[in-house]
């Protein structure tokens, strides 16, 4: 990928290089296509990623974390260029739930969960959305009765990525039904083994290798010490975690968009029609140039947001700008990529159809493009 723009210093380049090698050897296009087609979770590759130390990357240093958010961005770009599944799985486990435990968790929770996460021995999912609260997330209804030693959770979460693999689901629950909607929410780690938890995968258009699920809770008892952060303050505590998620998603769009661009370049410089390479037609080559341009612009916004994260500065606006731009770019790149490849773009033989299916979801999850615009607008005082 060296022909592409990077903002990496030597250490990060060395790390990126090693990620590229691992991914090239373990997430080759045939395997990635097979995971998708067979809806098979790439268990051994995920284990290998943990052995490489990637699951510790952004954790606190005492748990082996030694990377920063630029390292994360660089790594996710490379992973997502081959497999969005692996990148999303990493993001939920390490960036979101691992990050939440590290930032908000009590000491006993950190020392119990984070070393295991770093070794890939515990797996997480993250549950905020519900059937009737998607964009309007703080309208969530999943209820947790607060007992002396335990919560009792009832309700249904929708669209929970990786719930089948998870040992715990970090779940946003309503602990105070009488408070205003933002003030009565708490975050709890619900053990998937607990009685009353049912996980049902939902058939979707793409991303089949890690299934997205409906998760139902009926009278699930969750020990109080599995609460992450403080009681009733979950909503406020979630905001920085969701901002970090947006940076990660933007990085994935950049890496995957680059892969789609590279594929279009490779194909169109070889394919001949009317006795010439497709790229000899300006209508094709200009389209590809725009794909690259968009991808690089998204990359710049993403690295900018990651720098702010590194500096510990608030970056809600920058994270939303990056996510909005990079996901819209990736979608447009997949559309253009498919068009310039003709029938082969539409064929299951090539990866372009997967980009076409997977790009769309980046405009939906992690906050839809419209919601990103609302966030940015608010930051602009509109």
């Amino acid at each position: 990928m060296s022909k592409h723009m990077t903002f990496d210093d030597d250490d990060r380049l060395a790390f990126r290089d090693s990620v590229e090698r691992y991914i090239r050897d373990h997430a080759d296009p045939e395997s990635v296509m097979e995971w998708d087609e067979r809806k098979a979770f790439p268990e051994t590759v995920v284990k290998g990623m943990a052995e490489q130390g990637w699951f510790a990357l952004t954790l606190p240093e005492e748990y082996g974390g030694i990377g920063n958010y630029l390292d994360m961005t660089s790594m996710l770009e490379v992973i997502a260029s081959a497999s969005i599944t692996l990148a999303r799985f990493w993001n939920i486990n390490v960036n979101m739930v691992g990050g939440a435990i590290a930032a908000l968790g009590a000491d006993h929770l950190k020392s119990e969960m984070l070393p295991k996460l770093a070794e890939g021995k515990v797996r997480f999912a993250f549950a905020l959305s519900e059937n009737n609260s998607g964009s309007d997330a703080s309208a969530l209804k999943t209820r947790a009765g607060v007992g002396e030693d335990a919560f009792t959770v009832n309700g249904t979460k929708m669209w929970i990525t990786g719930a089948q693999q998870a040992d715990y689901i970090l779940t946003a629950v309503r602990t105070d039904p009488n408070a205003t909607r933002h003030d009565g929410i708490s975050l709890v780690l619900i053990p998937c083994e607990a009685e009353g938890v049912t996980v049902t995968p939902i058939p979707l258009l793409g991303g089949h290798a890690v299934r997205t699920c409906e998760v139902n809770f009926i009278d699930v008892k969750v020990p109080r010490d599995l609460m992450v952060g403080d009681l009733h303050t979950g909503w406020k505590q979630l905001m920085p975690i969701l901002a970090k998620e947006r940076v990660a998603l933007a990085a994935m769009c950049t890496g995957a968009g680059q892969a789609a661009t590279d594929l279009a370049i490779e194909y169109c410089t070889q394919r001949q029609q009317f006795g010439r390479r497709l790229t000899a037609f300006q209508a094709v080559s200009h389209r590809i140039v725009e794909m690259q341009n968009r991808t690089d612009a998204g990359r710049l916004l993403t690295y900018h947001a990651a720098r702010k994260l590194n500096a510990g500065q608030p970056c809600s606006r920058e994270a939303s700008q990056a996510k909005l731009f990079a996901s819209d770019s990736y979608m447009q790149t997949a559309l253009d990529g498919l068009q310039v490849m003709g029938a082969n773009g539409y064929s299951m033989e090539y990866a372009m159809q997967r980009h076409f299916r997977e790009a769309k979801v980046f405009q939906i999850f992690g906050g839809t493009s419209e919601i990103q615009k609302n966030i940015i607008g608010k930051e602009l005082g509109l």
Partner: protein
């Protein structure tokens, strides 16, 4: 025992190579460079020897341009203990020929006194396959090239070699020079913590002149050309037609 591993910075094996317009060589400006894959096998093998308690220090050495530092850092991140950079060129296009490399390595061996030199069988850029053999000759040491398996026991090594038509096992007395073949092992990936640790490992810099070796080229590259593109195929309608075409082409 100390193990010395020469590592070369070469064009990454994934890069589509382009010949320079004047035919003088391959264009190396702004292309990704990596450690020669055969040298990676050597580094891995040495680290395994150390992990098995058969070696106590792994020293890597690279000869070439200053940027070869990056290659040495990669080796250190894989687990080598210490690195020596011998700057012998300032233009990335200047390749140091095997005899000069072997002489420089022989000088390093005199200083370092390793019990074993483990090198790649060849560098994937110019495919010379000569340095290890020349080094053994200059040192008057035994050699075992194209290793598929290496076992170190006391004062000797048992090396299974890949030879035409099979495997050959030889026993060589230490010190010795062994070169690696493709199936020796699977090199590890450098993890981020190890990349960071590698920054603190010693990297000593010398020049070819410090070691008193003349690296002036003795070979002249006459021409470099891209392989001919593959001609388009044709479709045949029947076996008879296929056979006729093959006869026409003089291949059956």
């Amino acid at each position: 025992m100390k193990v010395l591993i020469p590592v070369k910075r070469v064009i990454d094996y994934n890069v589509k190579v382009r010949v320079k317009a004047d035919g003088s060589g391959v264009d190396l400006a702004n292309v990704k460079m990596s450690m020669n894959p055969f040298d990676e096998l050597a580094v891995e093998e040495a680290i395994r020897l150390k992990e098995a308690g058969k070696a106590d220090e792994v020293v890597v050495v690279s000869i070439g341009v200053k940027q070869a530092q990056e290659t040495l850092r990669t080796a250190l991140a894989m687990g080598a203990d210490r690195a020596i950079l011998i700057v012998a060129a300032d233009d990335v296009h200047q390749d140091i020929e095997p005899l000069a490399v072997a002489k420089l390595l022989a000088a390093v061996v005199k200083d370092e006194e390793p019990g074993l030199v483990l090198c790649g069988k060849q560098a994937i850029d110019n495919d010379m396959n000569a340095t290890g053999q020349m080094l053994a000759a200059l040192l008057g040491w035994s050699q075992a090239m194209y290793a598929n398996k290496v076992e170190v026991e006391g004062d000797h090594a048992v090396v299974t070699r890949e030879v035409d038509g099979g495997l050959q096992t030889v026993k060589v007395t230490l010190p010795t020079v062994i070169s690696t073949d493709l199936r020796l092992n699977e090199p590890r990936y450098a993890s981020l913590p190890n990349i960071m640790k590698a920054k603190k490992k010693p990297l000593e810099e010398k020049t070819a002149a410090d070691l008193g070796v003349d690296v002036a080229p003795r070979l002249t590259v006459v021409k470099t050309a891209e392989p001919a593109g593959r001609a388009a195929g044709i479709k045949v309608g029947s076996v008879d037609e296929l056979v006729a075409k093959l006869k026409e082409a003089g291949v059956v």
